[in-house]
Subunit: 299 residues, 2 copies
Amino acid sequence: MNTVFSVVGDESYVCVCAAPSPKEIKGLKWQGSAIGTAEWGGVLLRDVLVAAGIDENDPDIQHICFEGYDEDISGSTYGASIPMYKAMDPRGDVILAYEMNGKELTRDHGYPLRVIVPGVAACRSVKWVKKIEASRHESESFWQQSDYKTFSPNVDWDNVDWSSSPAIQNMPVTSAITDPPPGSVISRDGDDDLTVKIKGYAWSGGGNGIVRVDISVDNGHTWQDATLKKVNQQPGRSWAWTLWECDVEIPKGHTGPIEIVAKATDESCNTQPERAEGIWNLRGVACNTWPKLRLIIKE
Amino acid sequence: MNTVFSVVGDESYVCVCAAPSPKEIKGLKWQGSAIGTAEWGGVLLRDVLVAAGIDENDPDIQHICFEGYDEDISGSTYGASIPMYKAMDPRGDVILAYEMNGKELTRDHGYPLRVIVPGVAACRSVKWVKKIEASRHESESFWQQSDYKTFSPNVDWDNVDWSSSPAIQNMPVTSAITDPPPGSVISRDGDDDLTVKIKGYAWSGGGNGIVRVDISVDNGHTWQDATLKKVNQQPGRSWAWTLWECDVEIPKGHTGPIEIVAKATDESCNTQPERAEGIWNLRGVACNTWPKLRLIIKE
């Protein structure tokens, strides 16, 4: 192609998959580590579509569909789509990436070209891109039609109607406690005033920044503020995660197991649900309940 | 002005204020009725700003500030601001309205001109507009700087630092049960299979549509799907509320009080928190906990 595309760099995006669910689900057992932030370099998808003659006001184009080079064991090609308005939004920052953290993409990350759709579940950020199609309809792939969707907790494999729920795009606000490891033993060494430094990340979809992370050692009865390590991002385009840390005050005299919970709030004032029971879904996706860390406090 | 502005009609927007909080707060006691959906007619704010020579790429313009004609008892003029990117977003649908439901605005609704900022807390939809200013800074008004903000539950009037929290713009997902009235007595009339029709609304900020409303009669242990009355809205621009209803199955043999709870989920998979304890804030704003309805079931 002879068209010059603007190259997007110096941007941090998060690829986020779903989070852990405490009830039985089918599929990958996602954990808090199914997320990552990197600097992606590439061309704006919008520029590619405009250069290809796509008219953003064409009512027959509602979705941009991607196909990868990867196939599952049945020979089906991986595919996904995003709404046209996200693809064409000058502030949507959807790119076709060929660089990650300043280096050529590796094979595992989608060499030679992958889509990066910031703010959206990473299942739409198709790797090893083979084909891009402007369409009236969503991708017909299994993963768009019958996989990454949420349902009411009363829906299970015997009564699920996949067409009744929209494909997940933007993800909800979430967070994780990443340090220290679960079950760590912390010794008071005779000190009555004990604080434990805990660390983690928080993130929300749709470009919503994180405004607060609250920490509790008494299951949400009282709270302490974590300190956020804010990344400089444009308003409404908070694609990167926010790392945080907190010197958690352990109650005086407490010994034995203690459970620490966290809860993030995003710019739309959305926050994480306390229990999974109300958001359980058969695929276990978009589970953003309060993360919990169990520590052992010794004398 | 001689410029012709496009008139926005056939659109439904919600003005939403904050929701009820079960713990003591200072300020208005918002209830589930501090919300409304109407068809607003007016001119796009974006068109007015462009006609006035405002350059959306000017780094010195980050906020659009509004001032009304109304003053409080101290003589302070009501004011608020929204981010420049929302004001200029062609899909943001911010208008200067002079019509409501096809008729000239009434005085109570902001005659002759009010701002309508869809998807955003209605405190930014300034009425009786006197002045519009493009600025590097947010509105200096009390209501922007020291009022409509959320804090951690550990922040109270003795330790609040208003500058530490951003002014609320987009609101979180919420819902209400509006019918039947609380405390209604429902008679089984000897029937073992009893259903009660309940109705309500659900809404979310930022243009996020409602994908589901779940109803529970056992405090979230099991759920029933409500039927949504979807309004035709463009993707990512779901500004109107979604009305819903559900024929709730009352457990066989149950008599006496029963508590029905609802929970909405939006397109970003955000949902409502179960308890207010984790989101309590000193002004009681953005409280979007599960709505509850108590009924009395008679033999």
